[in-house]
């Protein structure tokens, strides 16, 4: 019994140190669902709620990424400026980067769903009179401004994904002996992901992005969109 108590105390003292070695559990990431926005939004004027949800989603993602990578970024910058080839301990595990990447892609997929679900202005009927649909939609602020916000948010999330991919690549190149790299060793043998590369499997962008597992909305097959009619 005494031995058991001693072991428990020892484990309690050692646990912070052990905790460093295991990957951090990052909070579950989720953005507002279309269903929840739809409770209030019912027409083009309601598109502001989709834009708001997208901005809040981006802010949440930024906070999450910043909290997890702040120290890692500093160390990475320092090691880059010193041109050292020594393996660095960035204080962030591959698992954490992977989790952040998953969250960012989830956020991107959710914003893509918002894009599909915004409301068109009522004047959409004017297309029948031969008025160009782009002209009608771009002329209505409730549509054009909020859609612009959604597209900007998508671009910003894409940038976060690029940064995380770059961090993952750099960590894989330099961090061979990192004490925090207890997991995710498989990524070392995988080909490096080109940061920001179009069509990269690990970094879906725009319409290439995958399904969101938040709302469960099915992704329609990709369409060829005319851009200048």
């Amino acid at each position: 019994m005494k031995k058991l108590i001693r072991l428990t105390i020892t484990l309690c003292i050692l646990s912070p140190a052990l905790g460093e070695a295991s990957p951090k559990k990052i909070p579950v990431f989720a953005c507002a669902t279309v269903q929840s926005i739809d409770k209030e939004a019912e027409d083009c004027d309601g598109n502001i709620l989709f834009a708001e949800a997208a901005v809040l989603c981006l802010n949440k993602l930024k906070d999450l990424v910043d909290a997890q990578t702040a120290s890692a970024k500093k160390l990475m910058e320092a090691s880059t400026s010193a041109h050292t080839s020594e393996a660095a301990n960035y204080g962030i595990s591959m698992d954490t980067i992977d989790q952040l990447l998953r969250s960012a892609k989830q956020a991107n997929a959710q914003v893509a769903i918002y894009m599909k679900n915004i409301y068109v202005p009522e004047e959409f009927g004017l297309v029948e009179a031969g008025v160009d649909e782009d002209e009608i939609l771009l002329g209505e602020k409730c549509y054009s401004e909020n859609r612009e916000t959604l597209l900007w948010v998508e671009q910003d999330i894409d940038q976060i994904i690029d940064e995380l991919e770059a961090m993952k690549k750099m960590s894989a190149n330099l961090g061979g002996s990192s004490t925090t790299r207890k997991t995710g060793q498989d990524s070392l043998s995988a080909p490096a992901v080109k940061a920001g590369g179009q069509g990269s499997v690990g970094n879906p962008k725009g319409r290439d992005r995958g399904q969101s597992d938040i709302s469960g909305t099915e992704k329609k097959p990709e369409k060829l969109a005319p851009t200048n009619r």
Binding site: D38, A41, E42, D43, C44, D45, G46, I48, L49, A51, E52, V55, M115, K116, N117, I118, Y119, V120, P121, E122, E123, F124, G125, L126, V127, E128, A129, G130, V131, E133, E135, I136, L137, L138, G139, E140, K141, C142, Y143, S144, E145, N146, E148, T149, L151, W152, E154, Q155, D156, Q198, G199, K205, G206, D208, R209, K220, K223, A225, T227, N228
Partner: protein, 207 residues
């Protein structure tokens, strides 16, 4: 002799195949993109003619002057059908859940392209009585109705988060013009989304 008989047959067959092809692949799509809400269906004008007789008179006057109203009555099914057709080319979004004035009241739009709205406005001054709502749509349409405001409370509600984000984004994007690009030979400006270019403006690049 056989060849002489075959040539007209061949050209007939060719003409038939071309017609069949256009019907199957072009005609059907064009058919699907037109809907029962085209032009001016005076359904609601007739329904409310006892309550709002001036609108019936207004309708007759504008038609007599060759001014063409649009979307006088637009049912929900009609709007859904129209949007579904356009969504086939690109995801524009959804039709409003709330019923429009075109659906439940007397309303009509006039295209600003041909100046019909100017004449309609003049006729309205001397003909229409009661509450008349006139609204210039951003996208080339002039809306007239006997209904109350179509705008919702959300239009004035705004969002601090969105305002702040847009202000920061505009400030940040001055250098790269917020990611807007011009495509040679195409009007307006575009934002790249994946492999797609989305038209964003009609005017030259904003800084």
């Amino acid at each position: 002799m056989l060849a002489l008989r075959w040539y007209p047959m061949k050209s007939l067959l060719l003409a038939l195949s071309v017609t069949l092809f256009s019907m199957l692949f072009l005609g059907v799509d064009a058919l699907a993109c037109s809907s029962s809400c085209s032009g001016c269906n005076p359904h609601n004008i007739n329904i409310y003619k006892k309550k709002h007789p001036s609108w019936k008179l207004f309708y007759e006057k504008v038609i007599a002057e060759g001014v063409k109203p649009i979307s006088c009555f637009r049912s929900r099914a009609c709007q859904e059908q129209l949007l579904k057709c356009y969504n086939r080319r690109r995801d524009y979004g959804r039709v409003a859940k709330r019923a429009s004035n075109h659906e439940t009241r007397i309303a009509m739009d006039f295209s600003t392209r041909n100046g019909h709205h100017i004449r309609a406005r003049e006729i309205a001054k001397t003909t229409l009585t009661g509450n008349v709502r006139q609204l210039m749509h951003g996208g080339g349409g002039f809306h007239m109705s006997n209904g109350a405001s179509e705008g919702s409370r959300l239009a004035v509600r705004g969002s601090r988060a969105v305002d702040s984000y847009r202000a920061k984004r505009k400030a940040k994007g001055v250098g790269n013009r917020n990611g807007y690009i011009v495509i040679p030979g195409k009007s307006g400006t575009y934002l790249k989304r994946g492999n797609e270019f989305i038209r964003m403006t009609w005017e030259p690049i904003r800084s």
